[in-house]
């Protein structure tokens, strides 16, 4: 018997077809992977099942009976639980309240049963006790948690729904390996209980580690479903991208050594919020990688270099002259660029035209006062083209694009006027594989043109494939530098886990 079946589901947002024709069949007791490029419609499909998006067409069957999911409450009643890609947590409420928010335990009709709340939530927190960090307790307001801890809370919240059908829309994007491993253990347990699980991730290794079957979705249409055992990463990618050939599949071979081009940026004994006593130099044409488990100070360092907020002490020299960054603006005018993977927070100017999203840095660096659309477009178009950005027109709002293309717009804003140093803070988070390949090809080209690039990535393969040198961070400082043949996955892990 099929537990959940979708056929011919579609959804349009204005002119954007988010989902053209979604089909999906999930059995009881399987982990069903959903994979597709950015903007292919995965989240839309999930939200339709979870009731938070109203489909235009199509049918949903549960246990072979047609149902209407009229809203999240209806979905809950139908036995559907979901982990939202963008999370659904209340910042100021405690972890326990968040986990049980959909169904707060009651005392009488009107009151919250505090004892039951603490007890029940405690059980879910205990599931991740080993990997969540000590500061994740039942009473902690979610706002005080790190990104990975929030994702764990959202996972607990989905688990607490006890639903027979559980949907996880990119639940691991902020988690580290140990957290992912623990999560997968739990998933396997649930599968063995006979629950149906939908799992979405852009990380190929995870998909092959946990999935039973995989459904590929492209441009809002379901392409096909195969069992994981019968397929390979390369085959999945071929399905995802259609007939296109020659895509970058993660290779373990490190890239050719960098060309020496003189020191561009040097950092001495820099300390700031989240990192301390960091020293290194980057040469022109070099891609310096920052590695290690996430949250060990890599992002904090990049942000400090960019002035958001500035470092407390230490010295930075850019092209031989001392660099003082008080805020991003002064960093930008000194020739720095910073691309963040958290585009929702750091990048996208929501609701505004694509043009206005590409040009703020250009306007600042050229001290423009007037914003003539023609002149701005002339600057913007080449940068967008270099990134293969798909968009209908510069005057369309950026929200009409998929997440991946939005990220490309944000990246393009830094490339109109060439910076001297490019800071990349996990720039590909949530970007699909082909976009990643485009991006890294471009980054390499920029390096060859003489830019100094510092790259932090939460994906090992990305670092190993692209960085000429890797500084491994742990506990806020650099533990090891990997250069040349040392750049191996083993060394990376060894250094990263050393102090832990």
């Amino acid at each position: 018997m099929t537990k959940l079946k979708l056929s011919g589901v579609s959804k349009a947002y204005g002119a954007t077809m988010a989902l053209r024709h979604g089909d999906l069949e999930i059995e009881a007791g399987e982990v069903h992977v959903l994979i597709g490029a950015n903007g292919s419609g995965k989240s839309t499909l999930c939200k339709i099942v979870a009731g938070s998006v109203r489909p235009d067409r199509g049918t949903v069957l549960i246990d072979d009976r047609p149902v209407t999911v009229s809203g999240p409450r209806a979905a809950k009643a139908l036995g559907i639980g979901i982990f939202y890609q963008e999370l659904s947590l209340a910042e100021h409420r405690s972890v326990a309240e968040n986990i049980l928010m959909p169904d707060l335990p009651r005392k009488g009709r009107l009151f919250v049963n505090r004892e039951a709340l603490a007890e029940t939530a405690g059980r879910y927190i205990a599931l991740f006790a080993q990997v969540a960090g000590e500061d994740l307790t039942a009473d902690t307001p979610v706002g005080r948690l790190r990104a990975d801890q929030r994702q764990l809370v959202e996972i607990m919240k989905a688990l607490a729904s006890k639903a027979p059908v559980l949907i996880f829309d990119e639940p691991t994007s902020a988690l580290d390996r140990a957290q992912v491993d623990r999560f997968f253990e739990i998933l396997r347990g649930l599968r063995n209980e006979g629950r149906s699980i939908v799992f979405i991730s852009h990380r190929m290794d995870e998909i092959f580690a946990i999935g039973d079957r995989v459904t590929v979705i492209r441009d809002g249409e379901t392409i096909g479903t195969t069992t994981i055992a019968d397929t390979s990463p390369a085959a999945v990618i071929r399905m995802m991208v259609g007939e296109q050939e020659g895509l970058a599949v993660p290779q373990d071979a490190p890239p050719a050594s960098a060309t020496g081009g003189g020191t561009a940026l040097s950092v001495a004994h820099l300390s700031g919020q989240g990192f301390s006593d960091v020293s290194f130099t980057v040469a022109r044409g070099e891609i310096l990688g920052l590695g290690g488990l996430h949250g060990q100070g890599q992002s904090a360092l990049l942000r400090a270099l960019f002035g958001a907020p500035p470092a407390h002490s230490g010295a930075v020299t850019l092209a031989g002259a001392a660099l003082r960054t008080e805020n991003p603006r002064s960093a930008i005018t000194s020739g720095l660029a910073y691309v963040s993977g958290d585009r929702g927070r750091d990048g996208v100017i929501t609701g505004r035209p694509i043009l206005e999203n590409v040009t703020p840095v250009h306007a600042l660096r050229n001290r423009l006062m007037l914003a003539s659309p023609g002149r701005l477009a002339a600057g913007a178009l080449p940068a967008l083209k270099a990134l293969n950005t798909k968009f209908a027109g510069l005057s369309h709002p950026i929200s009409s694009l998929s997440g991946g293309n939005q990220q490309k717009i944000v990246i393009a804003r830094w490339l109109i006027d060439r910076p001297d140093v490019l800071l990349l803070d996990d720039p590909t988070k949530g970007i699909d594989l082909s976009a990643k390949a485009d991006l890294f090809a471009l980054i390499r080209k920029l390096a060859e043109d003489g830019l100094a690039i510092i790259l932090y990535s939460s994906e090992d393969a990305e670092l190993l494939n692209n960085a000429d040198r890797i500084l491994v961070f742990n506990g806020g400082s650099v533990r090891r530098e990997l250069a040349g043949a040392e750049r191996t996955r083993y060394n990376l892990y060894h250094a990263a886990y050393e102090a832990a």
Binding site: P72, Y84, A90, L104, V112, V131, D135, P141, A178, Q296
Partner: protein
């Protein structure tokens, strides 16, 4: 192997943790400072009689501030609380008059008053949450409507309340002024409401409507619930106004609306929703009262009184916000 050795993070030291639990601490400190200052300038102002008078005068604002707090929990705002209070005030006055002013008629009028407050709250909730109009402008529009209604019911200020009614409010039982019984009942009510599912859900909605909706909370119903609660408390405020003024006035509450918003902020609640306490709002209402008294007792020339009051309230708002943020950041 532990995968996430948490690196040095800002500890939430003693003060921060304390503020997390008791966001109204800065308000209490301001309150105490004001009491001391009042006592210095006019020792009589700390007499039992004067303090009773203070509570009697500002009981209505306390209740309006509480009313406002519940909608602010959900990141909404209600600019009609004052108008609701006025409407309830004239409704109960007219009813008591028509029903003869006896004990039973008072009870019946108060019952109707609560229902009127509730109905106004539901109207607000409907236009803001169900029709999705912007709260600031929509509740301003309803406030005009409610004022019109109040003017219809009692076109001229002045119909008197039955003497027994205001004698009770202004009187004492077993040596304890009636208002202090009101305060006690309010405390119990607030305690119960703090444990209610609605309060938690309102706060969750205030933290993020979309997230709350996706979590399966009935967001619209919850917000309407917040406004309904607000309406009921505005009605209770109207009872106190009526007790203290012994008469009907279709415009009596109008100026209190903005003070209720100020009190909510002063009390440590965030206007952006998701965080706050009603106790803070109650204290803040008293702070506003004490500031007004202090400005006079300090001998401020009459033309400067409004200005100094304005400055003092602005300063208190700033201090309150700065202190609570320093603790929470």
């Amino acid at each position: 192997m532990t995968a996430t050795p948490s690196i040095a993070r800002e500890g939430r030291g003693g003060f921060g943790a304390l503020l997390d639990r008791f966001p109204f601490l800065p308000a209490i400190v301001i309150l105490i400072v004001l009491l001391v200052l009042n006592g210095l300038f006019e020792p009589n102002s700390l007499s039992f009689r004067s303090l009773t008078g203070l509570v009697r005068t500002y009981m209505a604002l306390m209740l309006l501030a509480v009313a406002q707090t519940y909608v602010v929990y959900a990141a909404d705002i209600d600019l009609s609380v004052g108008a609701i209070a006025s409407l309830v005030n004239v409704t109960i006055i007219v009813l008591m008059q028509h029903l003869g002013g006896g004990g039973l008629s008072v009870v019946a009028a108060l019952g109707v008053g609560v229902l009127v407050g509730l109905a106004c709250g539901l109207v607000n909730g409907f236009v803001v949450a169900a029709l999705r109009l912007q709260a600031i402008v929509a509740t301003f529009a309803t406030s005009i409507f409610f004022t019109g209604l109040a003017l219809t019911i009692l076109p001229v200020a002045g119909m008197p309340a039955p003497t027994a009614f205001w004698r009770t409010y202004g009187g004492s039982f077993f040596g304890i002024p009636f208002v202090f019984y009101c305060v006690a009942v309010l405390a119990v009510l607030l305690y119960l409401l703090a444990r209610s599912r609605l309060a938690t859900q309102l706060l969750a909605v205030g933290d993020g409507q979309q997230a709350a909706f996706q979590s399966g909370l009935p967001v619209t119903a919850i917000r309407i619930g917040g406004y309904a609660l607000c309406g009921v408390f505005a009605a209770l405020a109207a009872f106190c106004i009526t007790g203290d003024t012994a008469s009907g006035d279709p415009l009596v509450g109008a100026k209190m609306t903005l003070f209720s918003v100020a009190a909510v902020v002063l009390g440590g609640s965030a206007l952006s929703g998701g965080f706050g306490t009603v106790v803070g709002s109650v204290i803040a209402a008293l702070i506003i009262g004490l500031i007004n008294a202090l400005v006079f007792f300090a001998g401020t020339p009459s033309h400067w009184q409004n200005f100094v009051q304005g400055l003092a309230i602005l300063a208190a708002l700033m201090v309150g916000i700065l202190v609570s943020r320093r603790g929470r950041a």
